[in-house]
Structure formats: structure tokens, C-alpha cells
């Protein structure tokens, strides 16, 4: 068995024809009058007419090679009475081609792109849920994060939460006249829910639930035993769903016929909270997305804001950011592998060994940022504070000595275990073509043989300065995802060693740090290679100090899209293993 990492070319995303500029030119020529450049100040990409959308998307995918649809989201331009659906598509080595569709608020309907890019599936549902944009032709257009009885579409500008105080923070009541109140008194339990007009909880029938059940595939058997399928709910309170995820599984005996993840149990309308906040105030909230990787979340967000403003952090801060992001990757992969082993039944030995090392890294995080998990360390234009005295020595001892030895030991402990191999090899296969089409990213995509790593194809921060290999494997099963993570830890250590050797002295902040800032009008999308995959932040500013639109392209949620595909035909016990191999955090799935 070849344990070495395959460094070959593998299945490629099709190379995009020429640059993004040329592509959008070609698109405009192919659809004259239907596709026009977005000429708003600070905006990019093209605006497509709704009736030409599907054709334009097919043209983009098949003729121009934009085979990866990264993000779909809505924006409410309430002042213009418009709703907009924004798409970011990528080719193998190209930047984003941004295209948008605008519709009036009254009857917003846009053709669905699920048939072109299946990765749009959950994202269009989210956009429908949040904005009420109906995607015609979507196979299952239902709310995804809120429940069916929910009143209104919460991301619309005219929607107000039950504890609403003002449009934007800071709220006027806080100073100078105090007026303290307990949040619970103002917003008592039971009244913190808004029902649709005419809604009576007592008489309510949960059609949505039956729709979930009815929507799933069932086999009608012609031959053999006429057994009936059964439907089982795994979760939302199930130890191996890694949080409050519910998976509805249709079983034939022990074999999975179909399944569907049901999301939203941890939904807290992160994006609305973000739009109420000033730009820097959002940073601590991003920690709570994927709470295992708060450092990389913060990094992704501040990079998006910096892109919008057009500033650069100082050199030292860049290095510190990379160091923190790579340490986070190690933390994440340690946990992902440890909990994956819990899922196969190696109860807690591997995960506790992994936690030992994680503790030591979290000590480092606590030293620099003051918190082990909710780091709140990145700042727009820099980082919170410089490394404290003694930090580098501690980190060096870990990165040069302890962690490399640990990764080797972890390999010895796990990789050759026969039980593990028989549970993971050939389980949960996700072919490269499908992985790309379904928007998989991160180790999930690379284990399917697609050498796609944003640090390499579209280097952000200073990743272009480091030597590292993009880890690829080709069997596309659970075992390969495990090995990709193992090897990525080694590559992270490699980057860390280089960064620690090269880090210069100097300031860690550009300009003055402030809790509020004016950000020029425009839009920006920035994505990073977070430990779990592609984490993107889409921001629209109207020139004020609060984002007009703040959207998180959630890796974990979109990586759940191929779950059903991977599980069909396997045993129910494999579902938890496959789910574990995707590596999700519910804080980020539900936001």
C-alpha cells in the first residue's frame, strides 16, 4: 500500500479560457443585450437578465470552464426596490467571475442553477429562506435555516428581530443615561418568536416535516423479499453528528436508500447580527462560526474588509497571521481525525492524544490573544497585539520538535490499523467530477483527486512566499480524507517553520485601530483556504460604518451537499463515519 502522498496532477478543474476579463467579455458577446457590466461604483462582474441566466451559466461552465460555483447569495437593495442574487464562479486557475441577477422585491423569481451547478442547492435554499427569492426549478425549495412557520424573511432590510432596538450599533440608550434592563425582561421567553399572520401554533400541522419525509427516495422492489423501508432520524441530539445536526435516513434493512441533512438547529442569524454591527465589531462574532478555527475565521473576515478598503497590514502582522492560521489548521485536523475515530468506535483514545497537543497550541493562542477558542485576534489592518515575550520560544519547541514527532506517532497509532482500514477504505466515495459540481472544498475535494488549494491557486496574505505541497489523494474515500489531513498537518508544520524563520520585527498594525470605521461603498468577496475548506466572506458597503450586506460562505454547510451521494448504498453505521470524514462544525453550518 502506497502511503506516500500522491503529488501528481490528478483530475483538473478545466482551465478557464483566458482571464476573468476575457471571460466576461465573451459572455457579453454571447448574450448581447442580456448581459451587461455592473457599473456601480466599487462593484465588479456582470448583471445577467433572469431569462438568460441558465443559458449563460451553461455557457460559463461548458465553454469557459468555470466549473466551480463557490457562492450564491442574496442582497436586499431595499432603497432601489431590488433583490439581487449574486454568484461567484471559478475556473481551475482563474479568479472569480461574479454575475448577478436583479429582480423587483414584489415577486422575486429567478431560475434555479441547481441543474447547472448542484452546489447551488443548499445556497439557493438559504437565499430563499433569508430573502424570499424563489428559485424556479429548484428540486426542493424549502426553508433551510429557519422553520416553515417563520414570519418573513429575516435578512430583508424591513425585517426586525423581536429584541430589535435600532438599525445600527452603537445603540443610543447605553450612554450617557444608562437605562439598564435585563434582556429577558424586555424579550421574555415565548414572546421571542414571531408567527406569521393568522398562525395558530395549536392548530398547526407540520407539512414541512412530512415534505422532508416524502421528498426522500424509496425503493419499490420487484423481486425478492417485499421488505418495507424505514425512516430514521439521526439527531438532532445524537453524539456522532458533531452537534445539533439532524439527518433523515431512509433505510432498507441496514442499507441507506436516501438521506437528507436537516439544518438550522443552531441558527442565530449571524449575518443579521453582523449587519447591525460596525465592521470591526463583527470580528468577535466570526469566532463563533467554526469555533474550532476562530483564528482563520477572523483572518478571512479581515481580509475581506481590507480588500474593500484597500489597505495592507504590516509585514510582521502578515507573518503572525499565517502562523496563527496554520496552527489552527493543525488544531482542526487533530480534532477532525480524533473525532472521526470516535465515530468508528475507537472510543476517545486517539481524540485524547490529539487533545493533548491541541491544549499546547491553545496555550499559545491564550498567550497572544487572551482566549483559547474565541480568540478575537485579527484586526482590520493588523492583529490585536504583538506576540508576548517568550511566545516564540514556546511555539518553536512545539513546531520544530514536539508536533512533528507527534504526527509520526499518530500515524503509527492509526494509519495501519486493520479495523480502521476495513471501515474506511472504499467507503463514502465521492468522484472528482461530482466533488467539483457539488461545491466540495478543502480536504474533501483534495482527497477526491482535485489538487485545488486556494493558498496555491489564488494566494492571499503572503502564502506565495512559502514552499509547501498541495496534498492530493485519489481514492476519494474516507481513508484518503484521513490521510490528506494527516499530511496537511506536516505541510502546515513546514509553512510554520519557514514563517518562524523569516518573521521580521516591526509594527503589527497599519493606521490606528478603532472600533468603528467608514468603509468605501462597494462589494468584496474574499475566500481563504480554511482548515475545513473554502471559507468566503461577501461584503457590501454603502459607504457607512456598518456593512449593508455581510454573508458567510459556509464551508461546512456546502460540504454537506454531497453527503447523500456518498452515503447511498452504505450501511447506516457508515453514515456517521462519512459525516465525520467531511468534518463539519455546526456553528458554521447553521450560523
Amino acid at each position: 500500500m502506497n502511503e506516500q502522498v500522491a503529488e501528481s496532477e490528478g483530475v483538473q478543474l478545466d482551465a478557464a479560457v483566458g482571464s476573468v476579463e476575457q471571460a466576461s467579455q465573451a459572455l457579453r458577446e454571447a448574450f448581447p443585450g442580456k448581459v451587461r457590466p455592473d457599473e456601480r461604483e466599487g462593484y465588479e462582474g456582470v448583471i445577467v437578465d433572469a431569462d438568460a441566466l441558465v443559458d449563460a451559466a451553461l455557457f460559463l461552465r461548458d465553454q469557459l470552464g468555470f466549473r466551480y460555483l463557490s457562492s450564491v447569495t442574496g442582497v436586499d437593495y431595499a432603497n432601489d426596490g431590488l433583490l439581487e442574487s449574486v454568484y461567484h464562479a471559478y475556473g481551475a486557475e482563474s479568479g472569480a467571475l461574479v454575475f448577478k441577477v436583479q429582480v423587483g422585491c414584489g415577486n422575486p423569481e429567478i431560475p434555479s442553477l441547481v441543474s447547472v451547478w448542484p452546489s447551488a442547492n443548499f445556497q439557493e435554499r438559504e437565499s430563499y429562506d433569508m430573502y424570499g427569492i424563489r428559485y424556479a426549478g429548484h428540486p426542493n425549495l424549502q426553508r433551510i435555516l429557519t422553520w416553515e412557520g417563520f414570519a418573513g424573511h429575516p435578512m430583508r432590510k424591513d425585517w426586525r428581530e423581536p429584541y430589535y432596538e435600532e438599525e445600527h450599533k452603537p445603540f443610543k440608550t447605553r450612554h450617557p443615561d444608562g437605562g439598564v434592563f435585563r434582556a429577558e425582561d424586555r424579550n421574555p421567553f415565548g414572546r421571542n418568536v414571531q408567527y406569521s399572520p393568522g398562525f395558530d401554533p395549536a392548530k398547526w400541522e407540520d407539512i414541512a416535516q412530512s415534505a422532508v419525509y416524502d421528498g426522500l427516495m424509496r425503493e419499490v422492489k420487484e423481486e425478492g423479499l417485499q421488505t418495507e423501508t424505514i425512516t430514521v432520524n439521526v439527531g438532532p441530539q445524537h453524539p456522532s453528528t458533531h452537534g445539533v445536526l439532524r439527518v433523515v435516513v431512509v433505510l432498507d434493512g441496514e442499507t441507506v436508500v436516501d438521506l437528507m441533512p436537516v439544518l438550522g438547529y443552531l441558527h442565530r442569524n449571524h449575518e443579521k447580527i453582523g449587519e447591525r454591527c460596525t465592521f470591526p465589531q463583527i470580528i468577535p462574532y466570526t469566532d463563533r462560526l467554526d469555533y474550532i478555527c476562530s483564528m482563520s475565521n477572523g483572518l478571512g473576515y479581515v481580509l475581506a474588509v481590507e480588500k474593500l478598503i484597500g489597505i495592507q497590514p504590516p509585514e510582521r502582522a502578515e507573518y503572525i497571521r499565517v502562523i496563527m492560521a496554520e496552527l489552527t489548521r493543525i488544531v482542526n485536523h487533530l480534532m477532525a481525525i480524533g473525532f472521526l475515530w470516535n465515530d468508528v468506535g475507537a472510543y476517545f483514545t486517539p481524540v485524547i492524544y490529539a487533545f493533548n497537543e491541541r491544549e499546547l497550541i491553545l496555550d499559545l493562542f491564550e498567550m497572544v490573544s487572551g482566549s483559547r477558542m474565541m480568540c478575537n485576534y485579527m484586526r482590520v489592518g493588523g492583529v490585536f497585539e504583538d506576540l508576548p515575550a517568550g511566545w516564540m520560544e514556546k511555539a518553536r519547541a512545539l513546531v520544530y520538535d514536539r508536533l512533528p514527532r507527534f504526527v509520526d506517532e499518530f500515524h503509527r497509532l492509526l494509519s495501519e490499523n486493520e479495523i480502521w482500514r476495513s471501515r474506511s477504505m472504499g467507503v463514502g466515495i465521492l468522484p472528482a467530477e461530482q466533488a467539483v459540481a457539488m461545491g466540495a472544498s478543502g480536504p474533501l475535494l483534495r482527497a477526491s483527486g482535485v489538487p485545488y488549494d486556494i493558498r496555491r491557486v489564488e494566494p492571499y496574505s503572503i502564502y506565495d512566499r512559502f514552499d509547501f505541497d498541495v496534498v492530493v489523494r485519489h481514492n476519494a474515500d474516507v481513508y484518503d480524507r484521513f490521510l490528506v489531513r494527516m499530511e496537511e498537518m506536516r505541510q502546515s508544520l513546514r509553512i510554520l517553520r519557514q514563517a518562524m524563520n523569516q518573521i521580521p520585527a516591526g509594527p503589527v498594525q497599519t493606521g490606528k485601530k478603532n472600533w468603528t470605521m467608514k468603509v468605501p461603498a462597494g462589494e468584496a468577496y474574499h475566500r481563504i483556504e480554511a482548515p475545513k475548506g473554502e471559507l468566503g466572506f461577501y461584503l457590501v458597503s454603502d459607504g457607512g460604518s456598518n456593512p449593508w450586506r455581510y454573508h458567510v460562505r459556509s464551508t461546512s454547510m456546502i460540504n454537506l451537499t454531497p453527503l447523500a451521494e456518498m452515503c447511498r448504498g452504505h450501511k447506516i453505521a457508515d453514515v456517521v463515519v462519512i459525516l465525520g470524514s467531511i468534518d463539519i462544525t455546526l456553528g458554521e453550518v447553521d450560523r
Partner: protein
Amino acid sequence: MYGLGILKGLSVTLKHFVNTYVDDIKWGFAKRYTPEALLVRQSAEARGVFTVQYPEEVLLPQERFRFVPFLVYEGTDEDRQYRCTACGICAKACPPQCIWIVRAKDPETGKPLRRPAEFYVDIDICMNCGSCAEYCPFDAIQMDHDFELADHDRETAHIHDLQRLGKPVEYYAKIRPTYYAAEQEAKAAKAARAAKAKAARRKDK
């Protein structure tokens, strides 16, 4: 041979198992939780058991560790001179908006004074982000190290008022020695500069 991989793995487990005893003997069972021992046991040299028996054994927080804020006062407990000037920056910067400040007013003229009459932090809402301490221009509000805030009555105890929030400057100096030293140094430098400027002015006259 089938099973070799499992045996290989078990050898790792065995090593860890033995290590815990070696480590125990090295420290002498009772001394594993002394501050000196913890310094090693929380470093890359750590071997053996990682867990501690909280609350009997408590790991020391790092200097920058942050938990719900407190207000620094100078002077004694009876005569508290809060550093806070009631400027309101922390209340504005606080992401979940859980700080409420009532600025003191001169009882005769009604003019606002540079100190708080009331100051509240709702610690149920506080997300321990540290923004208040970060942006306070007077180092008046600081993040605490005391995380043991469990309570029987959340109805009344979880909104900290001025009395509850106040902690003496000595406490601040104790939990954040480097920050306090830097602050004192900056103050001394400023005083020296002022004195020099004064002397220069006197000479000019």
C-alpha cells in the same frame, strides 16, 4: 500479517500508559500541581497525564487571559477613585452592547462630570471579547482573570454594578504585571517630559 497495524498502534498506547507513571514518579505524586511543575507540564516537555482535577487543581491563566471586565479604581475600598471618565467609548465599542453608563452630573449646575454615577455590565450577554478594555483611552476598564462566576440567582446577580465591577489598581497590577509596568513607565515618562517643559518655560521667563 493481519493485526500488525493494531499491535503497532497498541505499542503507542502502551508507551503513553507507561509515561504517565514515569511522569508521576518524576514529580513525586503530590508535586505535580505546583506552579513550577505546571510550567513544565504545560510546555512542549509535557509527558504523562494532561488532565487536572478541577477545582482542587487549577491551571494558571496567561496574563492576557480575558474574562468579564472590571473597573479599576485607585485609593481605598471606602474611597474609590475610579479611573473611568464616563466617556462612553467602551459602551459604544461593545459588540453585543451590554454596557450601560450613567454619567454623573454636578448636583448644583447639572453639568456632566467626568465620572460615572452608575455603570452596568450584563455578564449574561458579555462575550468576553475584550473590546471595551482594548479601546478605553484611560485604561479604566480591564478584563479579569476571575472566571469562577457561578451563581445561585441569575435574576439579580448577573448585572454587575459599579460596586461589583470595581477592583483596586493593585489587583490589576497583580494580574497584568507587564501591562501595568508599561503603563507606569509611560506615565513616568510623561511626567518627566512635563517637568522638563515646565523648567524650560521658567527659564524663558
